[in-house]
Amino acid sequence: MPDVLEALLRVVIVMVAFLVLPLVVGQVEHKAMAHMQARVGPMYAGAFHGWAQLVADGVKFVQKEDVVPAAADRHVFKLAPAVALLPYLVAMLAIPIGPGLVGQDLDLGLFFVLAVMGAGVVGTLMGGWASANKFSLLGGIRVAAQLMAYELPFVLAAASVAMAAGTLSLIGIVEAWSPWWLLWQAPAMVVFFVAGLAELQRPPFDMPIADAELVFGPYTEYGGLRFALFILAEYAGIVVLSALTAVLFLGGWHGPFEDQLGWLWTLVKIGLVAFVVVWVRVAFPRMREDQLQRLAWQGLVPLALFQLAITAVGVVVMTQ
């Protein structure tokens, strides 16, 4: 019985984190982006500097009509937001915050998380295809192209860390981590972060939803709660990407007083990476489709392979 209770507790905690952290990231994006553009952002909702803006947005989305286009593939169209959102919830289950502080410790944690994150993109693809809209379809195809291009450097960069640590368990990787990896695995960290941004279709890699040419890409026909779920998936994706970057490359709970404050260190690192995601969005213009593909195939893939070679040499030298 206590096992069931403990599992239940872990699931509830992950669920709460899944519902709260993306909103926190979203609010930070609202306010940080506004101030970076010399604005103030939301100020009224919740009386203090608009802290409840996203709650208000959620209430608004719930009230909206649930519209399915007549020509759409109804079932796929309705299922797509869930397919986009759930993988990030599942991924969160396997990401450790501290030693033992994890939804479910998996021996193949890294492999599992990467596989599940790739599945999240399928939801967007489904939405793009099922909407029966040319903009959605073009956006969906761009999503697919982007996934193909960036999944490879993404996985290669993660593989580099797994190779250095000699394990696929996320907890094992953090325990094997030492500060000088920051230098050793720096190219992999850059590749992982950039490819992860591209996979989430975050600016400057938001060519699939480029509003100037594709209206809103795969999400064009979505409105109300389903649209909100897609947006929530994007922010959940930021949280998962930031958490993975923090755990794989920034040493997770390593830091002063890690015995007591380990979980706090992980959260701080996740927060910092998430802030960089927002920062990059504000600072850089959107990349063109061909620039996107060139960056992946001519920039990130060779860099990731180069990093793999460095890691292999390092591991061989160290084990001798």
């Binding site: 940080a32 970076m36 553009q37 103030v40 920062w279 600072a283 850089f284």
Partner: protein
Amino acid sequence: MSFPGTGLVKGLAVTMRNMTRRSVTAHYPDALPELPPRSRGVIALIEENCTVCMLCARECPAWCIYIDSHKDTIPATTEGGKDKSRNVLDRFAIDFSICMYCSICVEVCPFDALHWSPEFEYSELDIRELTHEKERLREWMWTVPAPVALDPGADVPKEITTAEKAVQKAEQVAPQEPPS
């Protein structure tokens, strides 16, 4: 010699610097804006000054001033004298949904019946409410600010020089008349 990626770093630096500075947003409903002098907010009317000369209505490029009037006869004060007639203003309205705030009516008025007030918060839910009748235009008069002070070193206003000349002339004509 420039390294690849300096542009990216510059972009990040600009946004970060912006974030640490105070934003320039005007918090309008909470803090009222500081309007410059002679702001054109709404047109106010002193009904008593109006002689129904119709200059404003005729000069208005948007035709947004409506004036109705009738003639009143004032009976002659002396016996056998001629009756005088006088214009009485019945209606003076400005349709602010048409007005383009060009200020021609204010400038053209020979009797200073029209003035600019800086008040601008008179939006309405019904467009017909934007036609302000003379009672409402009279109310705006209380919000008209005093004229802006003259620049240092500016010429003495025309009215004062004219008045001074008149006084000088009067003194020359009757210099030895004792003050009554």
